[in-house]
Symmetry: C2
DNA sequence: AGCTAAATGCAACTTACTTGCATTTAGAAA
DNA sequence: TTTCTAAATGCAAGTAAGTTGCATTTAGCT
């Protein structure tokens, strides 16, 4: 699933962000609303720094704490890709990523046939998550 | 593929570690030999700290630099799992991992059917790497 | 044995993230 | 609509993992 211009997910407007926060028992602070709006306005995974850069002004401590809260309440997901830095993206569709080893461009891979690989779950009491990432050189890096 | 006691991979002894380093144009220093031996003696992914703990004494700067060199020369592989800390493991068989979300126990998953999922490579000029990790709760954590 | 590029190791730095604690604020109650 | 309080914020300081600069040492050629 690809989101693009003119097709923004506007949960904030469709149900009201304060209502959304209230529904899960969180205070609808200005900071939380702007952070969540930043996810609505920007598709794809972002680092904490990238999120901060897109916002008017935010204390990094508040940002990190809010991101943890959002992950806990399943509003967003945490991604650990090759770099070691944590990326965050909105929790909509289940998908995987394809990452450029040179410029760290991240694209979404829609399909997920991982279910076919999951008999390994016998080794564990249950499998709750999985991550599949592809790494390579993106077309634009290959040109240069 | 599982390595276990009595079945150690002893490249160091079978071809001589100095010869191995010489073959790739690296000086066979005592530190490099002990670091590589630590990989031969211990199966499974380890963090830099875990490697240091298994060694007689090593400067962390030397260790980090040596690990980077070993990755560059494909003696070992770097793993970025859920935690954000980097793990290193010897480059032998291609495999994936299953990680306990509670205790961070890491097990190997031998089979790799990812090839079937790679038509996504059209999006990139080529795919050089992929990573597939499963996360869940291991049997021993599930008990407690 | 002597030479030199490569490798090491100390100190200091950086980056990503966390913790402690005093101040502020959302939103329920009066 | 003011009052109250737990929840949330924001500053300062701390931590952990990894990096950089630079002087010293060493592998392994000659």
């Amino acid at each position: 699933m690809k989101r693009h211009h003119g097709m923004k997910v506007e949960i904030g407007k469709s149900m009201g962000m304060p209502a959304l926060f209230k529904g899960i028992g969180l205070k609808a602070t200005a900071q939380r609303q702007e952070i969540l709006q930043t996810f609505y306005d920007n598709e794809g995974p972002m680092t904490a720094d990238q999120i901060a850069a897109k916002m008017s002004k935010v204390d990094m401590v508040t940002l990190y704490r809010t991101l943890e809260t959002f992950v806990e309440y399943r509003l967003i997901k945490k991604l650990n890709l090759s770099t070691g830095i944590t990326f965050y993206e909105i929790s909509d569709t289940h998908h995987h990523h394809i990452v450029c080893s040179k410029c760290n461009l991240i694209e979404e891979v829609d399909s997920c046939e991982i279910g076919t690989l999951v008999p390994h779950s016998k080794k564990f009491s249950f499998i709750s998550e999985h991550s599949l990432e592809f790494f390579g050189i993106c077309k634009s890096c290959a040109k240069s």
